[in-house]
Amino acid sequence: MKRYFAAVIPLVLLATHLGSTILYLAPTNPLTASYAPVVNRYMEPLFTQSWLLFAPDPATDNMKLWYRYRSDNQWSHWRDPLDNMLTDHQRNRFSSDGKILRIYSNIGMNLANEHTRLQYEFACKEDDVECGNSLEREIQKTDAYLLAARYVRELCLNESKVSAVKMDMMQFLIVDLHPKQFSERHEANPFGQVEYIEFQAVPFNAR
């Protein structure tokens, strides 16, 4: 008898866990609303999982945060702060650069997502300057913007220490670089399409 119990208990656990995992991973269907609350309560947080790995389509664009600063009334060129780290990561896969890159790339992605969310909320018309300014003021209050500003400020600070440049303003933008279409891969231009979100310049020492 005890052998039956010793076997039934694990089998019941297996059936419960396997069934919950399958339902959790199943695509949204007419029954999802009915079972999802129960299944999610069991699966999360211990068994949280998502296997849309480069699926349904892989990543296809390079989203970057660029910055520049003003010194003696002249703006510097736009700088990509992750360029050197990317080269180092491509040279040595065993370093922590790959993971660190993800942290700083995420700053730009988060900011872009916040901007998209607010754009949808404000629904500004193209020539509505007042609406655009309100959107800018609103985004400057978000955590994503404050994190980006803190990051760019630190970059500018490091650069001013190295090059002894006196900066008074800083600015950053999100640039989204799309690769050339496969059919255009032999053409000379380095990218296919470029989109960007430019944020207003802010004083360098602003908190």
Binding site: A7, L14, L18
Partner: protein, 334 residues
């Protein structure tokens, strides 16, 4: 006829229960544990130089609002609490120590619990850097808590707890295999619906993303369409066929070898080192028990050899030290 049917069902159930109460794949479980914990340890060591980027208070990873974390989630997000934010070095040290103990299979279940607890806390603090490989390894950590890596293949003894232990271990082992199958099932089916995978250009676009490429690979894939198409369809075919072919013992070695090749490519060409190695390490769960035993015996011989070398070096120094020390007592014969 009914009696015969019931008798057959009972005998089948009897065989099933006997099977469940005996430990299956004891060597594979042990090897799987060693491989997963070794990879976890290596991953942590690779990340150590950048520790302040991942876990410190000054990190650029968005902070989770401690007030919004409730219940069991709080236990796995301790490093998001302001009072514990600077304690990440302690978590790292505990993780490293317990991973070494975990590899040695000392008090396996308790050690596995601690490894899971500290590792998930470290992972959740640096959540931005986690990928699919980390997700899979986290699930394997849970299953390892239930797997018993005892060396001997225990026959079903009369003890209820022994049989329950074996049953839980077997079920956890089976679930680890099914989990890996589900990864490929979901990822493969999702890819089939993607237009870039369907038209054979997915690899071209992926290798044009700076974060996931290498300059040489980018040049090759842009110059030779054949690599793009073959690479894309081979990846797709592999993922879609894995859930079915992996259960066939004759095909399995070739399937896993090809999968290992793909994941090493992901690690070194695309730069997703942890992702590629995590999945490749998880393949160990499908090794036949005999093969796992040979690998464990090989590892044990290497460890013994290393211990012998160290012992010989230590012993060779001791007589030299004794000769160089001055005599404190007169020798009688002199």
């Amino acid at each position: 006829m009914w009696r015969e049917f019931i008798s057959k069902v009972r005998s089948a159930l009897e065989s099933g229960f006997t099977l469940l109460s005996q430990k299956s794949h004891p060597h594979t479980i042990r090897l799987f544990r060693i491989v997963i914990y070794s990879w976890t340890l290596l991953n942590t060591l690779f990340m150590l130089p950048g520790a302040k980027h991942f876990w410190s208070a000054a990190s650029y990873i968005p902070k989770r609002d401690a007030a919004s974390i409730h219940g069991i989630e709080k236990a796995f997000n301790l490093l998001s609490l302001p009072q514990l934010e600077s304690w990440y070095p302690v978590f790292i040290v505990i993780q490293i120590v317990f991973l070494v103990l975990g590899i040695m299979c000392v008090y396996p279940r308790w050690i596995s619990l601690v490894i899971y607890f500290v590792s998930v806390n470290l992972g959740n603090k640096a959540f931005v850097i986690l990928d699919g490989g980390d997700n899979l390894i986290q699930l394997m950590w849970v299953y390892l808590i239930f797997m018993d890596p005892e060396k001997h293949s225990a026959d079903a003894s009369d003890s209820f707890f022994n049989q329950l232990n074996n049953g839980l271990s077997n079920v956890a082992f089976l679930m680890a295999r099914i989990q890996l199958v589900l990864v490929y099932l979901v990822a493969g089916l999702a890819k089939v619906t993607g237009p870039l995978w369907e038209n054979g250009t997915a690899l071209y676009y992926t290798l044009n993303v700076d974060e996931y490429t290498h300059p040489l690979a980018k040049r090759v894939i842009s110059s030779y369409a054949v690599f793009t198409v073959i690479g894309t369809y081979a990846t797709l075919l592999y993922q879609v066929s894995f859930p079915w072919l992996v259960w066939n013992k004759r095909v399995r070695p070739y399937l896993l070898a090809f999968g290992t090749f793909i994941h090493l490519q992901i690690s070194f060409v695309m730069g997703l080192l942890s992702f590629g190695f995590a999945i490749a390490c998880s393949y160990t769960v499908f090794y036949p028990d005999e093969r796992s035993r040979s690998i464990l015996e090989f590892l044990a011989r290497r460890v013994k050899w290393a211990k012998d070398v160290v012992t010989r070096i230590v012993r060779s120094k001791i007589p030299q030290q004794r000769e160089s020390q001055p005599r404190t007592q007169p020798v009688e014969n002199e």
